[in-house]
Structures are given as structure tokens and as C-alpha cells.
Chain length 678, copies 2
């Protein structure tokens, strides 16, 4: 046959990212809900299945679909798909992933020869039409399955062949042909006529749970001491760990811990020249003591780091390290690998610039170096070094100024041996670049959350992140502040604004973080219009009163405990934006897919005035009738309210608590006059 | 270099259908607006261009992008793309297509080395920084271009090299470096560093205008005579052509004109057995007189058909033929090619069925035949035969019951020699099948229009067809009725309903049609709940009084004239759904992209009651200020109204005219107190 003919169409698989070009992200324990459009011209019935498997660690995800032999050989598992008339040719099935690392799935479909025949027979018999010819057709189909079967199934099929062939009348032959046990046997020995496979495999990357859900706390290790005018050591910083753990954080992210360059060191508040004794920016990495694989002597030794990491782990705190690809002029690589840097016509190395701004304390890497292989391996070596010291989370500085193809290579290379390693992209860049970095492998990404403050902005942005296909590849980490971003809302709104932003970050996004000082409501900016902190830790030694008046430590601890106790806050996709009559009050629900855990959050976005209004919770969320009564408990304030129906009143005083985090109680316990729905 | 590194990203090209897997549809004269996300990590500037070309007729659209040599060799044309800060890495350009047949485009981008350098120099010079090192870098860039250039450009570049190198001070060197004439020279001799191409070519199929825009009229040729009890001949039917042309139609679609089978011929109103003298369904194709390439002897000879087609063409009517792939039991193919049909176990051929319904007068083709090549060639031969007789439009019966891959092969095969041929798919099937048929090559498709009658249904469906990406591959043809579909709205609503549906079909969709009798408001159904016509022409000889009372011939002629005079009605994408205060009044505007032609349509969807309300026309459409005054002329009724501002009152009496088709007059002529905006 010279002309190829395809009759079964399989397309529009979900989930997928750019047609399977990039991984769909999942975490261990997730159930992957697969959908596909599947149909064949004409009226025959089809059957379909999802094929999926764990890939070997070193295996590249193949782009072309598996051949028939591959299917048998390489451990594909199968889940049958189903559809219904209303689904309009959309089929679905699901499977659970329970191993770290790369997986793939695809879809197969075939003509349901027996089922199609059976369906026609049933209709004709019901219409009283003669079906002698049809029975002869069916016998041939069953007989072929009999030929393929072995053992007891073969015997059973043989009995059906005889029952149909030797039936005393058409009526009894039809009854035998329509027997459900025959349908089950035929399904087991289906020859899968016209078997067609989707022409790609869709890759899935499975991370550990921390990839999706975690509460982060960022510190400058050198500021964790009690002695002014010098760096704290890791040994001293260890003393801070219990109170950080007590706030309920999961990840402790350390700004760079490496030696800092001397040349062109920045001074207090970023001034161009450091005074003697000023420590410089930790991101100006590298000095005579070493580069990216060294520990700053003022912090201690690599042994001290190991001790610190182990102490943190005992308290349930996982360490995340900063990975910043730039070098101070004193970094060993500047001397050892001059070709990794860009040179001016006069032979000097180019420092970082964003004209007319100059960053003379930092040399960026020249990724166009002819010695690219060595550079790549050295950078991979840095990560491997720290992985060897137990670090499994890297917060990557400014990834958008390096080639995305480098990140893909680097993350793939790490993941081949260490699928448990997580990467957070500090991708404060334009949306398409942020998305691509997520697609090529970054586990999580910083977002525009700090700059989304109005209700409509928060609603629109949350919908985009958690309810569109963006959720398949980009996992946001909502940092409420960073050493570079003290938003005007915090500067002007004070403590109520810190509480608002804390609740928003911690309940909208399953991963969120604060940079230390947030819990102290530190809000002094460098100057008007600046998002820089005054006297920033980036450029100076600093000690803090970690219990100073006006802090929100108790609230941070409470919200983190709520996050641990409520699965609804541990995923993003259970978000529902709720109606609210007051534009200053944002309201949303977070719910698990089974609605076993439902929280309703309402936040007053005005840090100055009391705001009140009515919010609408759809009846399905409280599991009652539209006018049913139920109880909600404010997990922040501890108060319990009796609510009735979908619309209820809220009043939020920013000077007390600007937010409700309400647990919706199940109908069995509280519904008074409404029929429970489940 | 063993590790590949990509820095320029080109993605998300538009327009495209499924990543370039299927053609984007266009017509001659269209301007293709191309968009792409283009960016590079870091801060360097880029340049980008669209490459496009007409493909050779026999050329398959290549999936992989062109190589550098291909670009030079195969006649690619180039349009530079542009972007701006607000476009967020989205670049755009456009090009016009003016030839029939296959085209392709792709996108290239490269680092703007000179521009990046120039931009930095400008900023640094403006900040008063020393730029000696920068000038030396720039000289090297300009000098390299000087080396590539020839002739006068080389001389001019040489002068700039000297002007920069020999400038008496940095200030004058910078001035020479920033000279716009140098930038233009550098652009012409740009080495296109890091040139990157999008990895696919996006195919575009360019049709003639009739593919998008046309008014169709469907007839049973045998019913076009004046003598009862027998078929009209083509010669007799010719007499009808002037009045069909006078109604302003462009396409005259004939139901099948071939010999009709005798065996199991259907009788009046689809009864199982025909009485002697009954003609049978024209879709039961084939008799002793021949099959798909024969003319029914009762209609005349092939010469009579040629005469009819020529007469129609002289009146501006293009003939569309029905292409129905099925055979009566008397079709020559049944005898000559038994393997093309499915056989029962008793050796007889299977007739068409949709159990328990049986269509004994039709044998469907078995596309699983082992003689597939011969079958395909025979079907292609049928089309070539009629193309040889001047037919360039085929209305394809029930395409969704044949393999989509067959249609792709067939349409591609025809288009290779005859890109002017158009195919209308009678794809009354589920949405995904309808879409795929459009994607594989059908020029136009029947739609669900007849079943969309409520305002919200019409708005939603029109948005989907004309304002989403569906418009790139599927061109709807809004038939207001067909021989199989007399909708309840017409049965019950009478003349007002016929007028409503006429205006909706003819103004929403650039292609629309009616099946003859519609203009007579023929609305007698076979029975309650049936969409079949009573005494349907499908099964009997019929003569009509083509001027009977209550007809809407004048209105049909008027709407078709309006369609010819107004470009706004000749494309779909200029649709804007308008606000209307009355749920029974649908309102929308159709406008050309340049707003030179703007029509506002308001239709009362209630065939029984007068409806009134206010509709809102955005100020941009009348080219005035929000409170400006302007005139609108009802092209149907001929009345002129003075409107003021965006919101104006309409009142529509279904028993007079249930619709306004309002031409919005340009502000220059009518605006009284508003400042013209252009």
C-alpha cells in the first residue's frame, strides 16, 4: 500500500508544556490527570490507554513515541482511559508518580472491534431486526480471540463460541453474544486493531515535596551574632537556629558564604569605596582565601559549615545556598582562567555594568569564552562540592543574565545523579524569560509578587500562576521582601502591611519566604523612591534585636503552623478567587481536590482603615445548601463564627489583625437546617 | 566546543496552527501580521526579520528551518521586525501575499553588535564618563564592516573610521560614532553575529478571495423547471439563472447531478420503497448510465452541463458541485471494484447503516480496502474530471465518515495542479473532527450556525469562529438552511424568522448560503420535532412558484448587494460584539481594520414581538468624541438617523424589518460638536 492512511486521531494531550518540549513538573505522590482528544472517522467505538514509566536517570526523554516492541521491553505501565458522550471526544485517566526523577507518558488507542459489533447487535436486536449475518460476523471475531487465548480464558471463550454457534434460536445466540463475561474476556484478548500511538512522549519531572511547598527564611549568616563591628561565625549563628525553627520555617536560605573580594569593595549603603574594616558585598565572591568552594574565614571553616548544616537539619531546617555566578577581581579564577572573562581593548577585564551604572567589584563571566567546556565543568563542580556537603537547595542569583541553555545543561547534569536537588531562580526579569528559565529546569521561581498589591493585581496574577498552564512548569515562591526589595507598601504601611503581605504570601503560594527583619517590621528605606534598605546588611556588619517591640514573630509562627496543618495551603491549584463587595478586601478559598480541607482567606489590603464587606463562598465549599448554616474558625485569631449561606459579613481592622484565615467546618458537625451533600 | 550554547530565543510565532503542522489560511491580497517572542539573556540589543517565500507547487512545506545557504538560494524575502519596551519581548512585522498556493515564513534574529555598543556609548557619554576604551572597541566593529563593504558604502565607512580615529577630542569622536548615517551603513553591512533561526517554517495556504467571501445559493437542478412530474433539464434550469443572479449570489451549488440508483430507491418523504416514476435521492449515486463522472440523462448531457456552467459564469455565478463518496447498488464501481466495498459473511455488500436505521440505497466505501491506491486515484479522477469541465468548487458530503488522511491526500493532490479549487466540508460532526477537517485542507466548513439561535449562543459562537485562533484554519460558511435542516425557529417564526436568520448569516459570516425555498419562507416540516422538509426535493420531482406571496427575495437581493459594497462584511475578524440592553436584541459591528468601513447590525431575535433597547457603539467606531453626533443609515430600510454618543435607542418590529444594518458615516461629513479624532 503506497498511500498511508490514518484513521485514529490522538491529539491535544494534557498535561504538557509546549508539546512535550519541556517537563511537566510534579512531586512525589501526585496523581497525574491525563486528557486527550481521541476519535476516529465514522461510527466505530475505540479503546484507549495511557502508557507511562519512570525513565532511567541518564536516559534522555525520547521525542518519538515508543514502538510496539519498546512497549513490551521498557517497563511501560498502562491505565485505561475512559470518555462519555458529553466529553466530546475527550478521554481521561490518571496515574500516580511515586519516584523522584524523569518520567514520561504517552497515549495509545485502538478500534474496539468487538465492542463496536456488540453495540450494533444490541441496537438491531432491540429493534427486532434479523441478525443472522451479524452473528456470523461476531463469531469470527470471538473465534479469533479464542485462537489467541490460553488456559481458562481459552476454555471460556470456546464455550461462548459454541453457545453462539449452537444456540437453538437467534434470541439465545444474541443473549450469549451480549453476555458481560464475554465482553470482559474479549477485552483481555483484544488484538488491538489499528493500534495507534501518540507521536510523542510527554516528559514529567518528579521532585520531592519541598519543590512545591515550603516556608523559607533568608539570612545573612554574618549578621546572626551579637558582637558589633565584626562578622558572626557559623558557630555563633547556630544559636539562632532554634528560634528560626520555632517560627515554623522549613528552609533556611543563606546569602553567599564565600570569601569576599578586596578590589573595588563596596562600602556602607553601596558607596563606591569601602572604608577599612567594611566587609563588602557577599555577592562579590572570591578572595585570596578561595572562591566558590571556600567558606569566608570570618564565618569559619568548611567543618563549621557542616556543623551548622547538621544542627539546622536536626531542627527540621534545610539549608539553601546562594549560587551567584560572578567573581570579584580577587577570585582565583580571574588569575587561573582569564579567558572566562571579557577583556577591554587595553587588556583589563570588564567589570559588570548597566550603563551608566558600574559594578566594579564584580566581574561577570563571559559565556562566549572559547574555553566554555572548562567553565561549564567548573561551575558544575561548585554545585557538586556543596552537594557533597549536604546542600540540596540552591537559590540562583540573576539566572536571566546567563544563557538558558547553560542552565538546562547544568540542572540536567546535577539531576542525573541528584534528582533531589532543587533550584530557585532569582528571575527578576521579563515574563517570557522567567517562564523559559522555569521550563528548562528551575524548580521554583521568584515572581512579581512584591509588586502586586492591589486586589485586581493579586487576583489576576494568582490566577495566572495557579490556574493556567503556567502552573505546569513554573512554581512560584512568594518572597514578601528580599535584601533588594523593600516595597513602598511596607515602607508606608508599617506593621499592618507586614501582616497583610505575610498572610497573602503564605496562603496564596505553597512556597513563600521572608528575608529576616521582615518579622521585625524593618521598613527603613535608603531614600525616597528607593526599594533598598537603609544600612543594608549587603554592605555592612550588623547585629539585630531579634525580639524588638512591634514584631510579628507570633503571627509568623502561627501562619507557618497553619500551613503545616492544612494540605489546602500546600498546593497552588486549589485556589478559588471569591467575590467581595469591598474593593479593599481580597477574598479567596484554598481547598484540596477532595474538599476535605477548605480554608477561606480574607485580607484587608488597606493598612490604615478598618474595612468591612460581604464575601461569597460557593455552597460547594461548605458542603451545604445555599441557605445552610455552618461554622468557620479563624485560625489566626482563634475565633469561631456561625455563618449562613454563601454571603457573609467580614470586618477587618488592620491595627488588630488585617486578615481572616478561616477553616470551614464540615457539614456533619455543624449544618443545622441543610441537607448534607455528601 | 562540545557543549552547545544557545543565547537567542525565538518562539511563540503567530500566526500558526498547531506549531506549523497545518496551514494558516489566507487569501490573495492579505497582509500577514507576524509576531514572535525574541530575546537574549543579558542586555545586548537584537535585530530580527521575517523570512517568507512562495513555495513551488509540488514542494512539501519543509518542517525544519532553512539553512544559511537555503536562505540565499530559494528566494526568501525579508521584512525587518520591530519591538518596543511595552511589547515585552514581542516583535512584529507584516508581509502581503499576492499569489495562490503554498507559502512559508520563519523568523531570524541576531545580536545587534553595533547598536548595543552605540547604546552603551551614548549612555556613558551622556553621563560624562570617559569612553576611550569604548571608542577603541567601536572602531574595531566599524572597521570590520568596512572590510565587508564594497563601493560607495566602503568609502563612507572608511570616512567614519577616520573621523572616529582621528577626531581631535573624545567629544567629536563620540559625535561621529553616534551619527545616524553610520548606523544605517552598519545595518547594511551587519555581519549578523549569533544569527539564529526559528526551528520551523510556518506554512500558509493562499486561496482566491472566494474562499473567504461569497454568497451561496443551493438548488436541486431537477426542481428548476415548470413541468410537474418530471425532472427539469439543464437547458430548462438555465432559465432560472438570471433571477438567481439578480438576487446577488456568487456561488450556485448544485446537489448531485449524476445518475441515480434503482435498487432500494427511496420514495416520497424518505419512504423505504419508491413508487414507479419516483426519482430517488440524488445522493444515491450511480446507475447503468454511469457513476460520479456521468450526468443524469434526465438533466441532459455533459454538453448541457457545460452550457449551463458557462451561462451561469456569464451572470457572475460560479458553479459548486456536490462530491458525495457513496454509491448506489447500481453504480458501475460496485461491479468493477467489489473490493472497494464491505461484504457481509454471506457475500452481499453492506449498505449504509446507523443502527437501527438502514440506508439500503447507499453502499459506503470501505477505506480499509486492500485496493486503496486504485480507490484513491479513482476518487481523485472524479474531481479532475469535473475540474476539466470548469468546476472549481466542491461541496463535500459527510467528510467526517471518511479518513481525514484521505482528505489531506485528495486536497493536496488537487491543489498541486489547481490551487484555485475550493472545498466546502459538510462537517456536521463533533467540534474536534470539524476542526481537523479544516486543518487538513478544507477551504470552508459548514457550522452549527443553524442551531445557534439565542443571543448568548450567537455571540459566543461568533467569537469562537471569528476572534479566536480557530479563524486561522476554519472558515465558516453560515448556511441558514439546508435540505436536511429546517430549524424549529424557521418552522415556528415564519417570515420574520427567515429575515432574522438571513441578516445574521449574511452579516456575521463573510461566506453564507441559503438553500432555495428559503427566500420563499418555505417552512413546512415533515412532522413535529423533525428538521426535515415536508415533501422534500430529496425524494421527489417538484416545481416551485418562485415568486409566491410572502417571499423575501427583495431583502435577499438587498443584503447581497450590501455585502458586495461593504468590505467590512467580507472578512470575519472585524467583528465586535456590542452591548445591548435588551436580551432579545443582538448587536454587533463589522469593521475593516482601518475603520474606513463600519457597519452596525442589530437584530431582533424575537419573531413575534416588537423589541426595543439601547445599544452601545464604542466611540472609536464612529470616529468621534463620546458625546459627538453622527449619522447612521439603515442600508436595509434606507432610513437615516442622527445618533449622539455611544448609546442609542433602537426599535425593531419583526413584522416590518427585524434588523438594522447601519452604515456609520464618517465624522468629516456629520460630526457637529465633536472634534474629529483623525
Amino acid at each position: 500500500m503506497s498511500i498511508e492512511q490514518e484513521r485514529i486521531v490522538i491529539e491535544s494531550l494534557s498535561p504538557q508544556v509546549d508539546g512535550g518540549r519541556y517537563d511537566v513538573k510534579a512531586v512525589v505522590g501526585d496523581r497525574i490527570e491525563v486528557g486527550a482528544d481521541i476519535w476516529k472517522d465514522g461510527h466505530e467505538l475505540l479503546k484507549a490507554a495511557v502508557l507511562w514509566r519512570k525513565l532511567d536517570a541518564a536516559e534522555q526523554v525520547p521525542r518519538a513515541g515508543p514502538s510496539q516492541t519498546d512497549l513490551a521491553r521498557s517497563g511501560w505501565r498502562e491505565e485505561r482511559m475512559s470518555t462519555c458522550y458529553e466529553a466530546n471526544d475527550r478521554w481521561s485517566a490518571s496515574f500516580a508518580v511515586d519516584e523522584l526523577g524523569p518520567h514520561a507518558y504517552t497515549v495509545v488507542a485502538w478500534t474496539d472491534v468487538f465492542g463496536s459489533w456488540r453495540s450494533e447487535l444490541e441496537k438491531k436486536a432491540a429493534a427486532g431486526q434479523g441478525v443472522g449475518s451479524e452473528l456470523r460476523e461476531g463469531l469470527a471475531i470471538v473465534d479469533a480471540a479464542f485462537g489467541r487465548a490460553r488456559g481458562r480464558d481459552r476454555e471460556a471463550l470456546g464455550r461462548f463460541v459454541r453457545a453462539i454457534r449452537e444456540a437453538p434460536d437467534e434470541h439465545r445466540a444474541v443473549a450469549a453474544a451480549l453476555d458481560d463475561r464475554l465482553a470482559a474476556l474479549m477485552d483481555r484478548h483484544d488484538a488491538r486493531a489499528d493500534l495507534r500511538r501518540y507521536d510523542h512522549e510527554i516528559p514529567i519531572w518528579v521532585d520531592r515535596e519541598r519543590a512545591r511547598y515550603g516556608s523559607w527564611y533568608e539570612i545573612f549568616p554574618r549578621s546572626q551574632g551579637t558582637v558589633a563591628g565584626r562578622s558572626a561565625t557559623f558557630r555563633e549563628a547556630e544559636a539562632r537556629l532554634p528560634e528560626i525553627a520555632a517560627m515554623g520555617f522549613d528552609v533556611l536560605y543563606l546569602t553567599p558564604i564565600h570569601p569576599i573580594g578586596r578590589a573595588h569593595r563596596k562600602g556602607k549603603n553601596g558607596s563606591e569605596h569601602a572604608e577599612p574594616g567594611e566587609p563588602g558585598s557577599p555577592w562579590a565572591i572570591g578572595g585570596p582565601e578561595g572562591g566558590h568552594e571556600a567558606v569566608h574565614p570570618e564565618l569559619g571553616t568548611i567543618g563549621d559549615f557542616d556543623h551548622f548544616r547538621t544542627a539546622a537539619a536536626r531542627l527540621g531546617l534545610e539549608i539553601a545556598l546562594d549560587f551567584a555566578i560572578n567573581c570579584s577581581p580577587d577570585h582565583p579564577w580571574v588569575r587561573e582562567h582569564p579567558a572566562w572573562f571579557s577583556h577591554r581593548p587595553d587588556g583589563t577585564i570588564k567589570y559588570a555594568e548597566n550603563p551608566p551604572k558600574k559594578y566594579q567589584d564584580i566581574y561577570p563571566i563571559n559565556f562566549e569564552t572559547p574555553q566554555r567546556d572548562g567553565l561549564y565543568q567548573a561551575l558544575l563542580g561548585v554545585l557538586r562540592f556543596w552537594i557533597g556537603h549536604g546542600v540540596k537547595i540552591f537559590r540562583v542569583d540573576n539566572p536571566h543574565t546567563k544563557p538558558v541553555s547553560f542552565w538546562k545543561w547544568l540542572i540536567d547534569s546535577v539531576h542525573r545523579d541528584h534528582p533531589e536537588v532543587l533550584f530557585l531562580a532569582e528571575a527578576f526579569t521579563r515574563p517570557k524569560r522567567m517562564h523559559r528559565l522555569a521550563k528548562v529546569g528551575f524548580t521554583q521561581s521568584y515572581t512579581y509578587f512584591t509588586w502586586r498589591n492591589a486586589r485586581s493585581e493579586l487576583e489576576e496574577y494568582s490566577r495566572e500562576l495557579f490556574l493556567t498552564d503556567v502552573r505546569l512548569f513554573l512554581r512560584p515562591n512568594f518572597f514578601a521582601n528580599t535584601p533588594d526589595i523593600l516595597h513602598r507598601v511596607l515602607q508606608e504601611g508599617g506593621r499592618p502591611a507586614f501582616l497583610q503581605r505575610l498572610v497573602l504570601a503564605a496562603t496564596l503560594s505553597p512556597s513563600y519566604g521572608i528575608y529576616s527583619g521582615f518579622e521585625l517590621c524593618e521598613n527603613r528605606a535608603l531614600g525616597p523612591g528607593s526599594e533598598e534598605y537603609l544600612d543594608s546588611e549587603k554592605y555592612q556588619y550588623k547585629i539585630w534585636d531579634w525580639h524588638r517591640a512591634g514584631n510579628i514573630i507570633a503571627e509568623v509562627a502561627r501562619i507557618n503552623r497553619i500551613r503545616r496543618e492544612h494540605r489546602a495551603l500546600q498546593t497552588g491549584s486549589g485556589l478559588r478567587v471569591l467575590e467581595s463587595t469591598n474593593p479593599e478586601i481580597i477574598a479567596y478559598a484554598k481547598a484540596t481536590a477532595d474538599l476535605a480541607d477548605v480554608l477561606v482567606v480574607a485580607v484587608n489590603l488597606d493598612p490604615f482603615q478598618v474595612q468591612e464587606g460581604t464575601i461569597r463562598v460557593p455552597a460547594e465549599l461548605y458542603g451545604g445548601a445555599e441557605q445552610g448554616e455552618y461554622a468557620v474558625t479563624d485560625l489566626l485569631a482563634g475565633e469561631r463564627y456561625r455563618w449562613r449561606g454563601e454571603r457573609n459579613y467580614v470586618r477587618l481592622d488592620p491595627h488588630k489583625l488585617p486578615a481572616h484565615v478561616l477553616e470551614v467546618e464540615r457539614p456533619g458537625s455543624v449544618v443545622v437546617d441543610a441537607a448534607p451533600r455528601r
